[in-house]
């Protein structure tokens, strides 16, 4: 079956613009996660969803970041008024149930803020 799908794969935006990143998890997976990976770094946890609710938003770097999930499926991560330090690869992952990794990752969206 299809894996986790993220779009766009690459996004270049000007500083101050808003961006939306999309994640389509594996069908039937109830848990969905967003991570951020800066160049040469590990994965920084941002937020996870169990169904449509987000029990843990502690990783969101600032109030410019928000995420939602509708219908227990697709999720969008929105970054408002983007800054250059937001440039990174944003990875989405899903798993069948919580708490039960392993997570299945998409290939990420590479965001570049100029």
């Amino acid at each position: 079956g299809a894996g986790v799908s993220q779009s766009p794969s690459n996004k270049v935006t000007e500083k101050g613009k808003d961006v939306e990143l999309r994640c389509d998890p594996i069908s039937g997976h109830t848990a969905l996660y967003w991570y951020r990976q800066s160049l040469g770094q590990g994965l920084e946890f941002l937020i996870y969803f169990q169904g449509n609710s987000a029990p843990d938003k502690s990783g969101l770097p600032s109030d410019r970041f928000s995420a939602e999930r509708t219908g227990g499926s697709v999720s969008t991560l929105t970054i408002q008024r983007t800054q250059q330090e937001d440039s990174a690869v944003y990875l989405c992952a899903s798993s069948l149930v919580v708490p039960d990794p392993p997570l299945h990752f998409g290939n990420g969206t590479r965001l570049t803020v100029t």
């Binding site: 991570y35 160049l39 946890f45 843990d56 708490p99 990794p101 392993p102």
Partner: protein, 115 residues
Amino acid sequence: GESVGLHLPTLSVQEGDNSIINCAYSNSASDYFIWYKQESGKGPQFIIDIRSNMDKRQGQRVTVLLNKTVKHLSLQIAATQPGDSAVYFCAENVVMGGSNYKLTFGKGTLLTVNP
């Protein structure tokens, strides 16, 4: 490609040798550990996992060892192949309370296999 080697620990091995990648984890309450492999331009790919009630688990060409006393995890790759070249991450599952948990990743190790 990305210059990940500037920031990550690196391990360089000859094709056919065995590789050992090490990871120290931070939380003694972690109950589940995973190794992921990440190739350039792709998301992390699951390799093998181990629960805290075990100290060793074997897969195909890979073995994970867990030492809870010193909070250390290792990944052993037998007969390393050029296709094994990638960044390897360990991850620990920390139970935060109730059904809330967080999967926390290490910084990764860059494995380079020389032909």
